[in-house]
């Protein structure tokens, strides 16, 4: 399924939260990176029909946002960044309720879908336990389960791995990758590692705008040959911050091992190294901020 976003804007009063967003999403996973306050969640809420757009066009499959809300909702699976669940219901009851809302009216089909989803998120044993007694990770999983119910063609997940332990995070990434084989999955995160392996296409948002839209390779190309590692002391590190972009600075022995973005050798002894997504992200953000 293709999702085409053109000149999408969203205003809250006089505050422009989304400003002329243009994106095209195809089948597969699409990663949306950006710092807090960049407008990722707002974009997702607009796409998920939770809030109305101010202007622009969004085409989701054959449906047009603003006209075919109900049809779009039928195609969607949405997991917001902050979400609540009905703590008084058991996991099975809750998913059954959501399945009803998603139009699975056949009782048998609904029960099977719920059981299948509980299995997928590894909550089968807790199906009759009230959600109020679930741990944070279990609640996150039940949230994921509700998003995946009803076989959605367009899945929007906003910061889905927050609160998950590493094992669950891995498991969830794999699940999304599996889903992305024949669906469009929009994954929003500020954890670069979440999209590292799975998202071929991606975008970076900053200040309500798309500052990068392309593939991982294209992002990496932007910083190819500009990533250096160098051992520095405290004083040199401060000096380096003035002249170059420091991606990371890890304490190493008496000083720091700094990962630096620079078009030429930033310091004597600096070693050129392979660029990563994080480097590209930082470079794009720096470039965006300096514009």
């Amino acid at each position: 399924m293709q999702v085409v976003i053109q000149q999408l804007c969203k205003k809250y009063g006089s505050k422009q939260v989304l400003n002329g967003i243009n994106l095209t999403l195809s089948t597969g996973m699409f990663g949306l990176l950006g710092p807090n306050g960049a407008g990722k969640s707002t974009l997702m809420q607009v796409l998920a029909t939770a809030i109305p757009k101010t202007s622009g066009e969004v085409q989701i499959g054959h449906c047009k946002l603003g006209r075919d809300e109900r049809e779009i909702r039928g195609l969607l699976g949405y997991l917001p960044q902050e979400f609540g669940v009905y703590r008084k219901l058991t996991g099975a009851e809750y998913l059954d309720y959501v399945a009803s809302m998603k139009g699975i009216t056949n009782g048998k089909a609904r029960r099977e879908a719920v059981a299948d989803m509980l299995r997928k998120v590894n909550l089968e044993e807790k199906r009759h336990v009230r959600i109020g007694k679930y741990s944070g990770g279990m609640r996150q999983r039940i949230g994921i389960a509700q998003a995946l119910l009803g076989d959605p063609q367009f899945i929007i997940v906003d910061e889905p791995t927050a609160g998950l332990d590493p094992e669950e995070r891995m498991r969830f990434r794999d699940m999304l990758a599996e889903l992305g084989k024949d669906r469009t999955v929009l994954l929003s995160t500020h954890v670069v590692a979440d999209i590292d392996n799975n998202c071929q296409s991606m975008a970076i948002m900053s200040g309500g705008r798309i500052v990068f839209h392309g593939t991982q390779e294209q992002l990496l190309q932007r910083v190819q040959g500009q990533v250096w590692t160098v051992q520095v002391g405290d004083e040199k590190l401060a000096e380096l911050k003035e002249t170059a972009v420091i991606v990371t600075a890890r304490r190493s022995g008496a000083g720091y091992e700094a990962r630096v973005l620079a078009s030429s050798v930033p310091l004597p002894g600096a070693v050129q190294t392979t660029a990563g997504l994080e480097d590209g992200y930082i470079a794009v953000m720096r470039a965006g901020n300096s514009q």
Partner: protein, 831 residues
Amino acid sequence: MNLIRYYKTECKLLLRGPGLYLMLATMAGILYLMLQTIDAKLDRAVYVMDISEVYWNVAIIILPLLATAIARRDEEWKTASMMATFPYRTWEMEAARLLCAVTLPLSAALVPMGAYAWLVVKDGISWGMREWYACAVFASFAIPMLFATVLAYLVGILIRKRYSYLISFVLLLVLANSPKILPISHALSPHKRVWLDYSLVSHIGNAYSRMWGFIYDPAFWLHRGMVAAIAVGMALAVLLVVCWRRRERVRAWVAYSSMLVLGVTLIWAGSAMYGHLQERVDIADANERFYSERLTSANGPTQQRELEQLLVAGIAAGKYTEADIEEMSRITLNKKAIGFSYNPNGLTSKPLSVSHIKDLLVGMKFQDLHITSYKLELELLSRHGLEIQATMQASNGQAETLGRFPIMLRHIFDVQELKVNGAAAAYEWEEATDVLWITPAADVIPGEHLEIEMTYSGTINDWRHYYSFYPSRDRWEQAAIVENNRLFLPAFYGWYPVIGNSRLSESDTHKYELDAFKERRQAADILDTHLPRPMADFEVAFTGPSGLKLFSNASLIASEQAEEKEATITRLELHEASGLTLFGGDLQFVEATAGDKTVRLLTSGQLPARSVEEAAQLTAEQYAEAARTLKMLDGKTATSFPKTITMALADYPYSRLNEFNSIETDMVDPVAAGPEARDIHYLSKYSKNGYYGASGAEIEQGKNGKTQLTTGQYWLDYSAKRRESSYARVANFNAQYILNNIFQVYIERKVAGEELLGPLFKPDSYFLDGTPSQVYDLMNTIYSQYGIESVYDVIKLVYDSIGKDQLNEDSDEQMEELLRGYLQRKTEGGK
């Protein structure tokens, strides 16, 4: 269907919370208290209404808050953004939530109905119309509950913040109490206050409202319909708001068109209710204007001087004896207890109006002109219409020839035809009275027999406005009614002609002075007179709907099908009676005996009430006890307490069936009892429990010389009658009050056979004005030193002193002095 699934889930979400259990526990507690305190000696429906008032007041404010919780749950639980993206049909989800929100409050609203039904079933009362109607009235509380719940839901939808609970609570609290707390509330009459009252809880809990008849009116159901329409309209508004928020406008036109229909319904119901309420007010106002006009025009100083001259001249000419004058002044209006204990203005005896005395003087010319028999053919017409063809036989016992003579007939009638002795007679209404002057074609010579034929018709739906301190406590009552399923034509109403020119009704004007009102409140109550009437025979043919049950003091002779379909002609006759009363409707005659006294009671089946058998039994017990009490006081059985009396209770169309309101509305129609009508006594609980100052005691002495007591304070009245001192009846309020208290404890001790078991009165007994009572202390002393018989001595002493020098003021000091004197004499060995 998804709606049901959503509803079930909503219920699970609601029912799995501690708050709900707390609320259920509270409601269960109230219900438990209700059941524990049940004492349904009173009218069951009224009892449940009274005790449910608190319950409803609490429930209608607290329970709808659940709706606010449901409405803002997604906000509170942070499920809103996720829920918003699900493809459910918004109207289905909201409908399910609304249904869930109203389920519990509606269940709670039906609890009083359940309690009432339980009482009825428990006591083995058979289910009839009144039980079903009472259930319907109770069940109708679901409508204001629905209104409150939807309103609270709407608040939750519109105000998503946490303080929406507070706003809901305050809103519900204000709405529930707006009829009471608004500054203008006391200045609004009941028929205006209902517009401010969406629940009618406080309205129904008060007796005056029931007496006013609102809950038995179409107006009540129209009010409910209006509230229901608003509630459904608000529910649709909720759907529209939520659909709009989710940008789902599918079939919004259905909601809009439904709201349009509801709006039209609301306007229709509102205007119909206004019409219903205003109709009686207009009728009452017309009555007030009618009688006030006469009173005002006839009581000027000029007329007073004229009257004085007339009286003096009449006495000088030997036309009137002193006894005549005495009788004239003795005939008093049969006052209704229009006020309350704190309303002395409504209780004091009103002197005969100048115009009334003047009328009586004129009317005395015709005192020996009597109608001896009536042949009355009544036909019910549509819309309260009644046509009567009356043929009356009369004889002129006067010593002089009469060129014209007066008859008393309610002014609402139009006379179509009038003949005297077969010849058309002229007639003329006396201005603003119920008196019609007939001028026969030929003079009526002494001893002549007359046949008077009259055809007249009118609309009988007569309302009276009874004023109170505050307009909010005003009452409207029906004096007479004719309709297809109900009939009330009491003899005193003047629906058939009686020769004479006394007043059928009098305008009793007085003023209420209250700080709350900048201006005094002018009240003009219309009071019906129970005038003595000569005995006559009656022959009645009544044509009315087949389903209408007819009751009367006349005997049923035959009933036959009329030519017109679905109409029946009922023939009745009555010999030597002082009046004829007709009742019709869902009525029942029951008989009960207590001791050697039997009461026959005609009661209404139309009203939600206790069983008529119980009512009759209670009345019989009161009657027997009153007779027994009088016997104790007098030492002999009073002759004026016949073994069997017949009473018509609750046949004022809109009154509840208990003794208190029987007295207030003067429901007892003496004429219903038959030939011995004027001997009927109505004895209320006050005859036993003491004088509360609410009964407006009056004595009438009819021409047959028998005394009629119309209120419960019988023993004082009886005493007053014996001593022929009208003064004692109207003065010494405080003395009477104290005496009643003394008498009451005397009876209790006497009946109990207990001597000297503690003081008669508590040491902290007070007078009405709050000052400590030396009288009670003195009585305790007399009782403790000289026993119960000495109490009786004191009672008699005080009686004998009333109106004399020893006790001629409404003075506590005089009373104390009297008792001190008694105590001193006893101490000195005298009596």
